[in-house]
Symmetry: C2
Subunit: 214 residues, 2 copies
Amino acid sequence: MTQFSASQIADMEQRYRATFINSLGGFKSVVLVGTVDGQGVTNLAIFNSLFHLGANPPLWGLVFRPDTVERHTLSNIEYTGYYTLNHLTDKMYEQAHQTSARYPKGESEFKATGLTPEFWEYFPAPFVAESPIRFAMEMREKIPLDLNGTILLIGQIKHVLLPDHVLQPDGFVDLEKAGSLTCSGLDSYHRTQRIARLSYAKPDSWPQEIPVIG
Amino acid sequence: MTQFSASQIADMEQRYRATFINSLGGFKSVVLVGTVDGQGVTNLAIFNSLFHLGANPPLWGLVFRPDTVERHTLSNIEYTGYYTLNHLTDKMYEQAHQTSARYPKGESEFKATGLTPEFWEYFPAPFVAESPIRFAMEMREKIPLDLNGTILLIGQIKHVLLPDHVLQPDGFVDLEKAGSLTCSGLDSYHRTQRIARLSYAKPDSWPQEIPVIG
């Protein structure tokens, strides 16, 4: 085993430490966040910090760092109040990754990377047409963290679009069947292979496998 | 495509909605959180809400819902100030899942599930001996969310333990080589298969693959 103390981590070169710490917590959700600015210019940015906050109301959190290209996304969300979340597949993960380049304000990452913006009724943010699972979000709360200057943005799901065949009878969405990817660290993209779904745990029995249909 | 509006989501049966919403955001980090209470009884609980907050200082967040068995974990962390985070593998994911059963206070999930507590020097929280990647955490901040009564707990990494062969020259931790799993929804466990690591994105070039060594 290799060990790292807090002081060894503090002494790491900055980019080495960012790569190291970002990898440690495990595989992560990775999504494209779609927005528009006040001039109607579309923006698309990749995030690996989405986290579930609750199902009723359906809330998800996103972490914004103050010193990155994500600022366009945050200012657009604050201006319009809305954004979309779009899953990645192995057909477009390179384009998705490329959205993290520092394109000048006014240049849409959709155009720069070749991904297709798709508007749904009157919702004021673009979906990614190539994405199998997409949902529309409304901003609910912005929480600045004094500890390190990051901002937690909490949003509520307004609308969900997904392929018919991925929804299981109990409400489970089969992300693997949809082709959704996961990521690790800052730049590693992965397919998944299910081991099992397990039944609700009770103290007096052992979990059983829940079959996944289709 | 299947569509769900906000009102259709609000009308879903409660457990169906929890399963549906928990699945939507993509694959998630899944870890075992190890703590001790004031009597020295060990506690172990599975969480799929870990999120990266920053590398300097190295901070991770965890979401606690007020109405679950996770309360033991939260009260222990508040009492001692410390906890451990431990990755899952396909050798022990069933035991890890089983820690979510509502065991009575005073009964350790380590003993109930057969996982092995391991103490490291004077750190006041148990690691999981079967886990390949483990880190020690110090509580830094507790943020209650008025929106839905959940609590965000932010902690800082104090110590990291990982296998020698998973660390890449640039600080990237190869979770796949460590055998770490990901999860989706509330109960689905998955292995991963790397597609590629991609180089830092720049506006005037396309990302290149970063080779993973070993």
